[in-house]
């Protein structure tokens, strides 16, 4: 392995890593919002919306991200909606992640015993207040492990962004291999940068989990 080459490529990979993290985190944030909204719809079994959400979840979970990205990248312009790679990557990730996040929050919500909302209701709280102050905070803490697993899963999925010419880590590595045949150095940097991105998330995840376990919610 040639360290001077590594030093030379480093800035390229750093740029790419920033892009990956930016797009990844934005997509994940939207996925979390979508997931919460969908989980609440399913929890309250809101008519019509409930059917739409179920349809979305099936569609999202049973198609590969690559296909979803291609659909947004090549498909939407055909029906007159212009896209760019960044929009495409973020919305693709949010579309995929929304259903996974929904599942994480839904199982958290379902885990809260009905007596919790009943006693909150009997104190005169509105449905919205019950959800916001009583049910959701408890559900969130139950959902944290699944949520963190999803974050890591979605961060890894960003490696597919290169397929719609986003200059992320994967794209950069492939580019350098293709142009200069610097396979070893490129792959090395690729692994290192993914680790730099993902390890902190993993560690944060287990810290959060441990804290919540010690907090020991439940009667």
């Amino acid at each position: 392995m040639d360290w001077t080459v590594i030093a030379e490529y480093m800035p390229l990979f750093r740029e790419a890593a920033f892009l990956t993290v930016r797009l990844g985190l934005t997509g994940i944030a939207i996925a979390i919002a979508v997931g919460i909204a969908c989980a609440v719809v399913l929890y309250y079994r809101i008519p019509v919306l409930k059917t739409l959400v179920s349809f979305y979840i099936e569609l999202s979970r049973n198609t590969p991200l690559l296909v979803q990205l291609f659909f947004i990248y090549y498909g939407l312009p055909k029906i007159g909606i212009s896209t760019n790679p960044v929009f495409c990557g973020i919305s693709g990730l949010a579309f995929l992640g929304g259903s996974y996040m929904c599942e994480a929050f839904r199982s958290g919500l379902e885990a809260i015993p009905p007596i919790q909302s009943e006693s909150a209701e009997s104190l005169g709280m509105s449905r919205l207040q019950v959800m916001r102050y009583v049910i959701f905070p408890q559900a969130l803490s139950i959902s944290v492990p699944a949520l963190m697993a999803n974050v890591i899963f979605l961060m890894k999925e960003t490696s597919i962004f290169s397929a719609v010419s986003i200059m992320d880590l994967m794209f950069t590595a492939k580019d350098l291999i293709g142009l200069y045949y610097r396979t070893t150095e490129s792959l090395f940097l690729l692994v290192v940068f993914y680790l730099i991105i993902l390890l902190p998330i993993s560690i944060l995840g287990s810290l959060l989990e441990r804290r919540l376990r010690y907090a020991g919610f439940g009667a």
Partner: protein, 260 residues
């Protein structure tokens, strides 16, 4: 358990809570079949009856936690309906304490108590907290304001649950077997709090299996069975000469005869 009998004028007090012809069924199975019940201001009504006769269901219907299939429930002449638009306003006037511990586990005792006053009644935090502390003192838990529910014993949790309902200044309190899940040595501390409320002239509807307690606290005892009110008597009469065979059999379950 002595409680002074100053309830002579009870028949003149205005009716606060009125249940009329209440019908409740689950999947076609009728649990409450035309319940009529009036509770007057300041009255303590104890509901007894065999397990599964619908005591909890009756309280839940009064608080509109269950949809009803017939009849009506009125508080101060206002109809309580599950999807009525004044429901949250009426529910503040009805305090309810359940059998299972239902404190919010993610909040401290103080936050459990002050959540509804702040969010529902829009009271300032300071004022709600001051009242919470003084109520906690009354039930002997002033030192527990900062604790989480998991750090409390069952009896302490139930006392906090009572305070959490009281702080909203309800007109009537509903208790659903609040000591049934407690270890025996904790029953007394919770019942004492309820006795204290009775002395203050609170209107209460109490479901319990503690017969001595019922006898001491009740102005009237309601015996519920097979979806009907079978007895509605002053406690002395109910416990000594109930009118129905079913009530006699029920009371018999709580008695032991000398073996020798």
């Amino acid at each position: 358990m002595d409680i002074t009998d100053n309830k002579e004028n009870m028949t003149e007090a205005p009716v606060l809570l009125s249940v009329r012809g209440l019908v409740k069924s689950f999947d076609g199975k009728t649990v409450l079949d035309g319940i009529d019940l009036d509770v007057r201001q300041g009255e303590v009504v104890v509901i007894v009856g065999p397990s599964g006769c619908g005591k909890s269901t009756l309280l839940r219907c009064i608080n509109a936690l269950e949809p009803i299939q017939g009849g009506e429930v009125l508080l101060d002449g206002q109809k309580i309906e599950k999807d009525g638009k004044n429901l949250t306003a009426i529910r503040q006037k009805i305090g309810m304490v359940f059998q299972s511990y239902d404190l919010f586990p993610h909040l401290t005792v103080l936050d459990n108590i002050t959540l509804a006053p702040q969010k529902v009644q829009k009271r300032p935090r300071r004022e709600a907290e001051e009242e919470a502390i003084s109520l906690l003192k009354r039930v002997g838990l002033e030192g527990k304001a900062g604790s989480y529910p998991r750090e409390l014993s069952g009896g302490q949790k139930q006392r906090v649950a009572i305070v959490r309902a009281l702080i909203l200044h309800p007109e009537v309190m509903l208790f659903d077997e609040v000591t049934a899940a407690l270890d025996p040595e904790m029953v007394r501390e919770v019942l004492d709090v309820i006795l204290q409320l009775a002395r203050q002239g609170r209107t209460m509807l109490i479901v319990t299996h503690e017969m001595q307690f019922a006898r001491a606290i009740a102005d009237r005892v309601i015996f519920l069975d097979e979806g009907h009110v079978l007895e509605d008597l002053p406690p002395e009469r109910f416990f000594t000469e109930p009118g129905t065979e079913r009530a006699k059999n029920f009371l018999h379950m709580f008695e032991f005869e000398a073996v020798r």
